[in-house]
């Protein structure tokens, strides 16, 4: 690990001024991803700004029924919070399906948003990776790419976004609040992460001097009937092959509201708008669910190691939506 300067910020302004003065600085929250990356020599910040003392660890109800989550709220705390469990079970479940208990106790909401891909070549500094070293090439395209994406890929990068939490946030239309010395702005989660295109090293809309301060989740009645399903190689502590966040509201046998997002298959947390479009006002049947999944996955590009994910994602979407129906085909 390269030596670095360490600053523990006592307040938000200090943190923002420090980061705007230092072009190669990183904020340190739980450190569960950043420190690993520093040890692997993938991240080499000159300055690490510890933000864990900042007052950003509150979960608060918003007027109108939404919830505001501070960027430093620990993943395990958020998953266990009564407001989240009641109103957004999909979010609670998604978080609990990620990492391990120890990691969730440390990891923060802001850090989870910014965690980096698990593509094996990204982690191996001896291999070319456009995300790590722009222009170097992509070792995964013709190499092992079982854990890479099938949606949103480019010729430069196939890396999947690894987060579970973000998949649920995408389905819930959450927004990210970010601050810098220049002011405050809000970015929809679905715009926060970027597609790789020709610049896979630019992973989010966040400017280098901006700090994630909160995530706001708007009210959504359908979210009370929501689920997260994660398909993975082992029962815990594994990244998703495919995951699905879904919320469903059915009225008179027809879909009134459907929210869907996919994990493990997208280069970013994948909001399945095409599937939602097909589901809108469709009969709440397995055939419709299947058709919706197929519509979303029509654009998927599979490669030898990961093509199975397309079929698996379709099966998972259908299975999750089916589970959200009561035995009489309605929703609670």
């Amino acid at each position: 690990m390269r030596s670095f300067a360490y600053l523990s910020a006592p307040d938000i302004d200090t943190a923002l001024h420090a980061v705007s003065a230092e072009p190669n600085a990183k904020f340190l929250g739980g450190g569960t991803n950043l420190v690993d990356l520093m040890r692997e020599e993938i991240e080499q910040p000159d300055t690490v700004i510890d933000i864990t003392r900042l007052p950003l660890a509150e979960v608060a109800e918003l007027p109108g029924g939404g919830v505001r989550v501070g960027a430093l709220v620990r993943n395990s705390h958020l998953a266990a919070h009564p407001l989240i469990r009641e109103r957004y079970p999909v979010l609670s479940q998604a978080i609990l399906h990620g990492a391990s208990g120890q990691l969730r106790n440390m990891a923060t909401v802001g850090g989870n948003l910014l965690q980096r891909t698990r593509c094996v070549y990204f982690y191996d500094t001896a291999s070319p990776c456009n995300k790590r070293e722009p222009g170097a090439g992509c070792a995964a395209a013709e190499g092992f790419h079982r854990n890479t994406a099938v949606l949103g890929t480019s010729e430069h990068c196939l890396a999947a976004h690894p987060s579970d939490m973000c998949v649920a946030l995408a389905a819930l239309d959450a927004a990210v609040e970010v601050r810098s010395v220049r002011g405050v702005r809000r970015i929809p989660v679905t715009d926060f992460h970027r597609l790789p295109g020709a610049t896979p090293h630019v992973e989010s809309d966040l400017a280098p001097d901006e700090l994630v301060t909160a995530v706001e989740i708007p009210p959504l009645r359908a979210a009370a009937n929501s689920r997260y399903r994660k398909v993975r190689d082992r029962a815990s502590y594994a990244f998703a092959l495919v995951s699905v966040a879904a919320a469903l509201e059915v009225e008179d046998g027809r879909v009134r509201t459907a929210r869907l997002a996919l994990g493990g298959v997208g280069t970013r947390p994948w909001r399945a708008r095409e599937a939602e479009r097909v589901l809108a006002d469709a009969p709440a049947t397995e055939e419709a669910f299947d058709r919706a999944a197929e519509a979303e996955l029509a654009a998927a590009v599979g490669r030898p190691d990961n093509a199975f994910k397309i079929d698996l994602a379709r099966r998972t979407v259908t299975a999750v939506l089916r589970r959200l129906l009561t035995t009489d085909g309605s929703t609670p």
Partner: protein, 723 residues
């Protein structure tokens, strides 16, 4: 703790005597030893090509980095004698890599430099600044290319009894004539050693004498190899390794960390510590080699085996030949007149594989037992019944009787506990309460009972206690505990008055801690040394029936005996193996094809069980390894450049607690009067054997799908195109 009646100590479920030390953090592991002032840290720089020469190596930036003491490369490293040394655990063919002795690169991950600095962080950073360029040379990087040039293991393996070609009768003719035949290919990926303690060494030179605190299963071999490498008399090298944080075979050979620590320590004239990173564990230590097996079975309509043809090929390196006894079990496990085996090794530009728990057997039995299940399906016969119908009391590969064999009893005991009779034979016919497809599968397990020469010392003290020692290791099976039991029982002293010590070359010589032979070998020596010491003490006062503790107090000074024991000809008169039967239940999601294993039940005939508690732990731990092999573990080696790509514990998936359901292991009563004085056959490795086959067979029963390539991942059950 109450005093345990001495005479009944062997066979009791005694808790680990070293347990309190371990849970309280009092057990000192290799990299935790304090060698005294001046300790510095070494970080290894590894190669990024599979084959070639180092064209240039620039260490200027590394040398200028803060805290750096030295940067060693082939250009400035001391020239070492590297005298020939072949321990029992070294491949007999080929030669180990001579570290930093020349510009040649033979595999990805080979050490090409060592940065030595005041702190670990400084060393790691300096290592990252070393710039190496290579002149790559042609390399065999893909397993499939290596297989095309596979060869027999070689003459030195032949001398050890591993020919490559074996069997009896005419298998091809018998297969041709058999009314029922199956033939299938099974693929088993490379599996990496991932003990939680990575390999690490602290080296210190003092007046020409080298002390190494190392993680190893065999201190005496580390001493012998380092004596050869550095051209020292063995008595100038001391190796200390009292605790091992898991090894499973990874501690059978000294890896680069040992030589590099010793080399650097001499170079900078300070103690040096070198610990492998997790990534380096995938490029420097050995592993269970990738292999492909083809099995053909022929039987009559009653299920009597008429022919077995079993061919296997596994990867090895280009500079050493690592070969395993993969096919031997196909020659002795069942009665069958016509058997042919053919084993080849495929040299590839990778580091040399090495033994991993149940080496050879885990691989070969997997293929054979999956094939047996396919044969049972072809015969429309119960898979247990098929095995029992081919049971034998004679080892047909040698013609001598088994010293003991309880395969039938194991199937009965495990099958009953498992509830095999509830199995609906039709695939896909069983469901659990959650609607998941349920499958039941079984497989046989076997591991040879071997024994080596061993030496132990018993020292009886005037206070009525005893210290017994030998240079063995305890990588986890409970050697401290079981040897204490044998000693206490033999001496007639309470357990808590006996201390067993191990892991130091200054102690009497133990064989390598592996092969499931420690109890048979060292246990016999401990028993003999304790018996002799007791005899001497009692002889001193001329009474054979006195209380030993009272006698020792009366003598007033220590009484000592060091005894070496070795096997006789019993293993030529008998074929000695542990046998077992393992049953697996799987639950498969019908939509998503994820496989879970709610239950594994095994029964084993292993001779006498010295400690049922640690023995059960051994077996259930082995079962979990087998579960990993079945469902999650594989080292992905990039066929373009032979580089392992998933070299971390986040990407190389070993089972976690949530994967492990109910584990049940029992031992059938078995008395083996032939195998060794203690009547033990060994149980360290058999727990892993057969587990993956039982799980694959259960997956077939649940789904009707044969997954013949491990691990059984979602896509393989889905039936999608996979590599």
């Amino acid at each position: 703790m109450t005093s345990t009646a001495a005479a009944s100590v062997v066979g009791q479920p005694v808790s680990r005597v070293d347990g309190p030390l371990k849970v309280a953090g009092g057990a000192t592991y290799a990299a935790e030893f304090d060698p005294g002032p001046g300790l510095c840290h070494g970080a290894i720089v590894t190669s990024t090509v599979a084959s070639g020469r180092i064209a240039s190596i620039d260490t200027a930036a590394a040398e200028a980095a803060p805290g750096v003491v030295a940067v060693l490369t082939h250009r400035n490293a001391p020239v070492l004698p590297y005298h020939e040394h072949k321990g029992l655990t070294d491949p007999p063919e080929g030669e180990r890599i001579h570290l930093l002795q020349d510009d040649r690169v033979r595999h990805q991950g080979q050490p090409v430099a060592l940065a030595v600095a005041e702190t670990l962080e400084e060393a790691v950073y300096a290592a990252s600044l070393v710039r190496v360029s290579y002149r790559p040379e042609s390399a065999v990087t893909a397993f499939s290319d290596a297989v095309a040039h596979a060869v027999p293991p070689g003459p030195r393996y032949r001398d050890r009894g591993l020919e490559g070609d074996g069997g009896r009768g005419d298998a091809d003719a018998a297969l041709g004539a058999a009314p029922v035949r199956i033939e299938a290919e099974y693929v088993m990926p490379r599996l990496n050693h991932n003990p939680i303690e990575p390999h690490g060494t602290v080296a210190r030179w003092s007046e020409g004498e080298l002390t190494l605190w190392d993680k190893t299963q065999w201190v005496d071999n580390v001493r012998a190899e380092m004596a050869a490498v550095f051209g020292l008399p063995p008595d100038r090298v001391r190796v200390v390794s009292p605790f091992v944080g898991g090894a499973f075979g990874s501690g059978l050979r000294p890896w680069a960390n040992v030589t590099l620590a010793a080399m650097a320590s001499r170079h900078v004239d300070r103690p040096v510590k070198v610990v492998l990173t997790r990534r380096q564990m995938f490029g420097i230590t050995g592993y269970r080699p990738r292999s492909t097996h083809r099995v053909a079975l022929g039987a009559d309509r009653d299920g009597q085996l008429l022919a077995i043809r079993h061919e296997g090929v596994s990867e090895t390196s280009t500079y050493e030949t690592y070969a395993e006894e993969q096919l031997g079990s196909s020659e002795y496990l069942y009665a069958c007149r016509d058997v042919a085996t053919r084993y080849r090794v495929a040299p590839r530009n990778v580091q040399t594989p090495n033994d991993m728990r149940g080496p050879g057997k885990v691989t070969g039995v997997h293929a054979l037992e999956c094939a047996m299940d396919e044969l049972a399906a072809a015969l429309d016969m119960d898979p247990v019944e098929l095995r029992l119908r081919n049971d034998t009391i004679v080892d047909q590969s040698t013609g001598v009787p088994f010293s003991s064999r309880s395969l039938r009893e194991c199937y009965q005991a495990a099958g009953e506990r498992f509830g095999w009779s509830r199995r609906n034979p039709r695939p896909g016919a069983m469901r659990d309460e959650r609607g998941r497809l349920v499958g039941y599968g079984c497989a046989s397990a076997t591991w040879p009972a071997m024994r080596q020469a061993a030496e132990a010392r018993a020292r009886l003290l005037p206070d009525g206690s005893a210290v017994v020692s030998s240079s063995s290791s305890d990588m986890g099976p409970g050697t401290y505990t079981s040897m204490t039991q044998v000693a206490a029982e033999t001496l007639g002293l309470p357990l808590e008055r006996v201390r067993f010590e191990l892991g130091d070359t200054r102690m009497p010589t133990a064989p390598v801690h592996g092969g499931s032979w420690t109890m048979a070998s060292l246990g016999s020596a401990v028993q003999a040394a304790c018996a002799e010491a007791r005899r001497r003490a009692l002889a001193e006062i001329g009474r054979a029936d006195a209380d030993l503790a009272a006698v020792l107090r009366q003598i007033g000074e220590p009484v000592e005996a060091t005894v070496r024991t070795e096997p006789g000809d019993e293993l030529r008169r008998y074929s000695a193996h542990s046998f077992g039967a393992v049953f697996a239940e799987v639950a498969v999601d019908p939509d998503l094809c994820t496989v879970r294993v709610p239950r594994l039940v095994g029964a084993y005939g292993v001779g006498r069980v010295v400690n049922p508690k640690t023995a059960r732990s051994q077996i259930t731990g082995g079962m979990v390894m087998g579960m990993g092999m079945a469902l999650t573990e594989r080292t992905e080696v990039d066929p373009r450049d032979a580089r392992p790509v998933n070299s971390s514990l986040a990407d190389y998936l070993v089972p976690v607690n949530a994967d492990v359901g109910e584990l049940d292991a029992v031992f059938v009563d078995e008395e083996d009067p032939h195998v060794n004085p203690l009547g033990v056959k060994g149980l360290g490795e058999i727990g892993t054997v057969g587990v993956a086959a039982a799980i694959c067979n259960a997956v077939y029963h649940a789904t009707g799908r044969r997954v013949r390539e491990l691990p059984v991942t979602v896509e393989r059950v889905l039936g999608a195109a996979v590599r």
